[in-house]
Each structure stands twice: as structure tokens, then as C-alpha cells.
Amino acid sequence: MRSALAIAADVREGVLSAATTTATALGAIHARNEELNVFLHVDDEAALALAASIDDRIARGEVLGPLAGVPIAIKDNLCQTGVPTTCSSKILDGWRPPYNATVIDRLLAAGAVPVGKTNLDEFAMGSSTENSAFGPTRNPLDPTRVPGGSSGGSAAAVAADMTPLSIGSDTGGSIRQPAALCGIVGMKPTYGLVSRYGLIAFASSLDQIGPFAKTVADAALLLEVLAGHDPMDSTSLREPSPSLLSHVDDGVAGKRIGIVKELYEGADESVIEAVMGAVAVLREAGATIVELSIPELRLGLSAYYLIAPAEASSNLARFDGVRFGLRVDAPDVTAMMEATRTAGFGAEVKRRIMLGTYALSAGYFDAYYGQALKVRTLTIDAFARAYREVDVLIGATTPGVAFEFGTKTKDPMAMYLNDVFTIPTNLAGDPAVSVPFGTGEAGLPIGVQLLGPGRSEAQLFAAARVLEIADGRS
């Protein structure tokens, strides 16, 4: 599939119609969606009507935005006016949001064509999409394996060449992990860079929306559109969208890059080899490589699996059968709420609500949640110390390549360990990108992770671009 940059350039010049690009995307979706279960909702008519209106505006001489005529897939935890939004949960069955998430408004203003909503682990809780109430998404590179998660549908949409771009959300790795498992680029931006207004909250202090793309340049292009201050999100950074695309070819000459033991130890041999290969490429490109150990990062997983469920147990209290979605009738309101939540939530969501409720309950608060918040401080301080020494950190995105269905569903801890390398970044609020580099078992892609301090997205994309070129991906 052609890049979003190339498509938008042609559409803006009038040599390619948005109607054509949209019809191509819809064709690709319908050809494989039954097999892969990538999209939960596709509205051909609405997408084609939007595309036609874009073509009309171009015909009238209007100058369109940087994503003119580019089809894009939206993770189904983002609100879009009048479009079913489920979070892959039965509890939101039938609900159609009365407003757009800010990122949807930004995409529309940039001329993009949202073609549909993609599958995810229920309420973004999971690492394989196996927790979706609507069945798992299959990895387009090997349909016997998971695409990763929670943004598995969005990653698969791009990997399967259904759309050149998609959007996900990342609370503990939910963009970077599926990007790695599907062999594409995915970034979790700095906390606050992209407005969360209209993103159905999982863990509000960790959630961040970000881009998926086949190429680094396309990911940078999309993030430029998504980023920027939004008065509707009180945690939105008060600054304009950064310039990213113009820096993707800045390279890494003169940069100091730290290879972090705790961000690859324990990974499969092929993954460690890929990280070492990437380090060699960056050194060759002029970076100074520093070997680092940041032992605090080992505590990240424990802290995350108390903090995220604690926030989730509070955020998901709103799903009680009163205002939206499912209601299971009962004679009194408490019984109705209990019956609705019991029928509407899947096992993993219940598990995390329970864990969070327990961690926040009287008598355990200090021992679990309180302790986790202090460990969060240690993580933040440890990253800050590292970034006084180096510009960028490098490690693996995941411990291994895409795994087969059912291999980790019985044991929650085994599934959680998939996020061990991605979680620390979320705790710190810093950005990180996963870029494909090399292959492992069964020829499946490996993702290398580049991490940086807050607002270092341009630098991370530039480093990722060096790896992309070395890996022979344009």
C-alpha cells in the first residue's frame, strides 16, 4: 500500500480522488475482515459520502489538510458522533456517542476519512485482543497468532494494508506491543500531547492516544495532526503541535543512546539479537552508545498492575446501566447495577476492577496503592537520571514475537509480563516508539523500542527512521 504522505499529496493535487482511496480501503477491509476480525464496525456509505465531499471541496479549489483523502481506522474506545462505540464490551451494546473525540475532529479537519472502528481487548485491558467480547483479531502475518493488544485491531488494519494509518491508545504498551507483533510503527506520545477528550478512560494518568503506520514518516505525519492543546482535556499540554515530519531524517549523529539491560533481559534470544543489531546500526550512524542499568524499571510491572486497576475500578464505575448501553432489569437500583455490570463486563475487566477496588479499599490502600505510587516516583526519578546522561534509551518492545491464541489466557500474570518493557514509560508519562527491526521465530517481526524524555518525539522518530532504513523498510 502507498504511504499516507503519497496518498494525501496526490489527493491534494487532484490527481487521485478521495473516493478512490476510500473505495480501495473498503475493498481491502471487506476482503479479509471476516477472516481477521479487525473491524467491529464499517460504514461504507458514510465513508464514501465523506470522501465525495472531500473531492467536491478540492474541485472547488479548496486547499485540504495534510491527511486529505487518507483512510484511517479508529480504535473502538474513541467516541465518534452517531457511530457505535463499544470498547469491545457488551456493556456498551447499542450506544452511539453524541459527540466526537477531539482526535476525530482533528482528523476530519485534516481531511482524513475514518472508515471504521477497530477491535480491542475489552476496555483496552489486555495484550492480545483475546479479551474482546466480539472475538479476537487475528494477526494478518499469521492468522494462528494474536496481533497483540490492546489496540490489536488498529495494528492489524495497517499490517493487513486495509488502511495506511490507524489510531490506538496506550496505557501500558497497547500501541507499541501490537505494533511490534504486527511489524509496523507505533508510538505512545508524551502524556498530554494528544487530547484524551472522547477517549473512554481506562487509567486516566497513564492513557495516551497515538499513531500506527507502516513508516516512521507516516506516523510522524499523523501525530502532528493529533497533537496540540485542547481546552476540553485539563491534562492537555498548553503548547502547539510539535514539528515532527521535518525532523524524521535528522539522524542520530552526535546523540547519546543508552542501551538498558532491564529493557531486554529475559527476552527471547532473537529479540535480544535484534536490539543488539539496532544498537550497532545506531552506533554506525554516529551515535555514542552507553550501557545502562536502571534497576527501578523492574518494579514497574508491579506498580502498574496496582495503579492501572485502581484507576480503572474508579473510571468503570460509570457503567452502571443508568446512562448508556446495557441495562439488566431488577426490582431496585442496586440490584439493577449489579446485574448489569455482572452481565456486561468480561472476565479480565472484572479481574481488574476487583484488583483495583481491593488496592483502594480501607486497610490495604497504603500497602498496595500507596506503595505503588511511591514506586512510580522511583521510576520517574530513575528515567530522569538516565536522561541527564543520554538523549535516547533503547530496548525491546516485547519479550517475544506474536504468540499463538490461548497460550497466555489461562494465566493473567503470563499475559501481563508481555508489557514488562513498555509499562515503565507510561508510569513516567514519557514518549516511546516501537519500530520493526529484524525477525524472529517463524519469520515474525520484532519491535525495537526507543524511549526518550517528555516531548522528545521528533528525536525518537529520527532514531526510528535510521533503523527503518537499515532494516530495508524504505
Binding site: 446501566g321 437500583v333 476487583m354 493473567p412
Partner: protein
């Protein structure tokens, strides 16, 4: 190793969270939640007495806007998505039952 939390505690937490668990779910959750808490034991041994807790990466501040009237979501549109609405309001089953 015994689970750090008991079946009764799990049942109590389920009640707080407004979830009804079957006997089988109670057993599974007691074991699975116990595993996660055991993993978290690596934190409980740390001496963090002097460490400040961080609840949010950049600290939260109140954000105020000018006190001017702006359009908000249309009430009828929002209520149309509710399981039950009555006279411009969300409707629920009885809240005040008979005294136990």
C-alpha cells in the same frame, strides 16, 4: 504459598465493586488476584519512607475557563441513548426500598 487474600475478602470486594461472582469465579479470582498481589510483594519489601507518592506524571492543576455560556450536549440526544428516560431525566428502578 497461601494466597495473600481470602475467598471472603474477594466476595466482599465484589460487593463493593457491584459485581456478582459465581462460586467458580470466586475460586478463580481468589487465586489469580493472589498471584498478582504476590508479584507486587517485590514492592512491599522496599523502604520507601522518604519517597513522595506520584499519582500523576506532571501533577494536576485546576484549569479554569472564562465563565461564559457555551453550547453543551443536547439533552434529548443524550437521553435517547439511555436505557430508560422519563420527563427529561434518566430513569432508574426504585432507589428507596422498604426497610429491611
Amino acid at each position: 504459598m497461601s494466597s495473600p487474600l481470602t475467598r471472603d475478602e474477594v466476595a466482599y470486594v465484589a460487593k463493593l465493586a457491584r459485581l456478582r461472582l459465581s462460586d467458580e469465579e470466586l475460586t478463580t479470582f481468589t487465586s489469580q488476584l493472589g498471584q498478582v498481589l504476590e508479584h507486587a510483594a517485590d514492592m512491599s519489601t522496599l523502604d520507601l519512607a522518604g519517597v513522595v507518592a506520584t499519582a500523576h506524571p506532571f501533577g494536576l492543576v485546576n484549569v479554569l475557563r472564562d465563565d461564559v455560556i457555551r453550547p453543551s450536549l443536547d439533552r434529548d440526544v443524550v437521553l435517547a441513548m439511555a436505557p430508560e428516560a422519563d420527563d427529561g431525566r434518566f430513569a432508574v428502578p426504585s432507589i428507596l426500598g422498604e426497610a429491611p
